[in-house]
Subunit: 414 residues, 2 copies
Amino acid sequence: MKLKMETGYKNVEGGVCAAAGFSANGCNCGLNPDKEKNDLGMVYSEKTCSTAAVYTTNKVKGAPILVTQKNLEATGGQSRAIIVNSKNANTCNADGEQKAWRMCELAAQQLHIAPEEVVVASTGVIGQVLPIEPIANHIKTLAAGLSPDKHGEAASAIMTTDTVKKEVAVEFLLDGKVCRLGGMAKGSGMIHPNMATTLNFITTDAAVSAPMLHKALQETVKGTYNCLCVDGDMSTNDMVCIMANGCAGNQEVAADGEAFQAFQKALYLVLLNLTRMLAADGEGASKLLECTCAGAPDLDTATAVAKSVIRSPLVKAAMFGCDANCGRILCAAGYADAEFDVHKIDVALASAAGSILVCRDGNGIAFSEEKAAAVLAEDEISIRIDLNQGEASAKAWGCDLTYDYVKINADYRS
Amino acid sequence: MKLKMETGYKNVEGGVCAAAGFSANGCNCGLNPDKEKNDLGMVYSEKTCSTAAVYTTNKVKGAPILVTQKNLEATGGQSRAIIVNSKNANTCNADGEQKAWRMCELAAQQLHIAPEEVVVASTGVIGQVLPIEPIANHIKTLAAGLSPDKHGEAASAIMTTDTVKKEVAVEFLLDGKVCRLGGMAKGSGMIHPNMATTLNFITTDAAVSAPMLHKALQETVKGTYNCLCVDGDMSTNDMVCIMANGCAGNQEVAADGEAFQAFQKALYLVLLNLTRMLAADGEGASKLLECTCAGAPDLDTATAVAKSVIRSPLVKAAMFGCDANCGRILCAAGYADAEFDVHKIDVALASAAGSILVCRDGNGIAFSEEKAAAVLAEDEISIRIDLNQGEASAKAWGCDLTYDYVKINADYRS
């Protein structure tokens, strides 16, 4: 997948350790019986970080979410480290919060920081008791091995049904100083974020105040993670957390303005690319789908239509089958929670193989099935909807619905 | 599937012709290249019928929906016949309304009634032009063959990806007279009704005024069709229509009261059983899922939770895999659009093979995987959620998510 970048922003390696002052590590502690797979990850900053996070709006919240929220409240949005495990979501079990807090204590002890300075997260099966011993037994080695080179070890520790690690980082200038912002994310099912996201950790060496960090994060997730849908199931453990340690030496971004805009653009590029990676690696996915709704009377309408189409199982299955079924796209646009005139809609399908108009003025039109099949045979498909009744535009990302989605999810627990 | 009945209501054969004075027919007119399959159906009443209908709330509406709405407005809720085709939804094409109206004219001509007295419907591929010639060429034979025995021919004419015909009818007493109410329905994909349903036609020989028929229908779909979800895609052509011709000779039900209640119960039983049939025959389905949410503070909460769980692709895939994954059920309950305390939820899974508790007080509990697998091996599964915070209860119906759903929908148009 080709990364989306803009002038002034350079893609760099390093993921969650691309920014100065951050180190990371990951290991298999035994939660995952496959010893080849990491299940415990740690991220550490040598300096205290302004920290902001957004969380799932699911009423059933993972215990780590609740503990992280409390910690960030206690410190006024400061943190030093992240501890995260996969294989067990530590959610819907009686002692979840104690266990999540214990994870903070274990990490803090090794790192000589306060437990409240630790962001804790878990992902995996919901409703099972989290065994703490494997974590306790490996925390010392994990901390001892922290290194800026080990970002990939941490990124692999948060993978569940993901088939590839998701890491992105960018370099940009702020106040004349070279800054970096990078992160790691996990997919790949139970993904339909709402005012939040999947599990994502972003770090930056830019100096940004906690309130401005929160503002940048809240605004940026709206058009990135919150426009991502793999299957319509909103996870209990969604969280995106950003830590800014100020090691780049810029003057702290503490208000709106040019520097804030430049910083937010870096955050946008990283979240955008992680969103696209998450969609492309959605459970069982064979294609990345990007739906653009343009010509909308307002942003809410554009977003509602793009998300409705990207969520539709029938559209997703048609894309898997390389079937240019414009009726399903119109149908899904039609049940979007928004008001607009359906008789002005144009729909085109596009990919590296070209573009083909399949609907004009709300009606299906004749098109070359041969050309349509060629367009849809690519692994990155763009569904372009033009409502032709305004200037607003929005994008949403998802993937096709395949046999493998069913296979993966028919017996996930075993 | 065993039908649900109540004292005083007897299941009878005859579907849409079970009630006196109704006849039907179906044929292959050539819309479906498979000559073994009916694609054109007709229902006729020898007397004028009070008629009520509810329609999809999708903004993209099939042309036949618009024409039926106009007809029923023009006649003040009176009709004499139904004309319906499958294979082509006559939706999202420039001349859809003209074609739908032409179908009314063709039927009316044969039946010596006014075109406005015809209810017209179409189901099938969206966005393609409907060829009217096949219908014009077969309308005379279709009308000539009308018979009370041919209800099954009509029921098969509305099938798309359905694997079985759906017909139900009941007999009951109203005002001392034997009445009948029956109907036919089609599935089996693009099903997530909202204030409407899939394509359904109900007939009765009870005398009921058009306003009371409308009231009974509106109230009854809420707890039946509107609690049905196969895939979360709301169709453009959803419609449920009920015709009452008064042939039973009862005093017309024109107000609330005992007779209205008795009539509404009959309607409920027919819609309930059709709903269950539609769920059981959902695209690719191997299991009927029924989710009950009890102990809710109010009906809206109970309904929202039951529908959220029944819609979840992850719950559906787990049921296909016979995986008692309570975490996914809690997750889907948690993102339902309703407010309640998630720490009081109990969840049990039940079937003909027994019942097993998998969650208590919002937490997963240990259970026998062996017993759970036996419970989930049945083809009718009950997901029982108790919120333990009130008296309201609601049910929703759906099916599992299987490889065949993907297979059917990856290339539906061909």
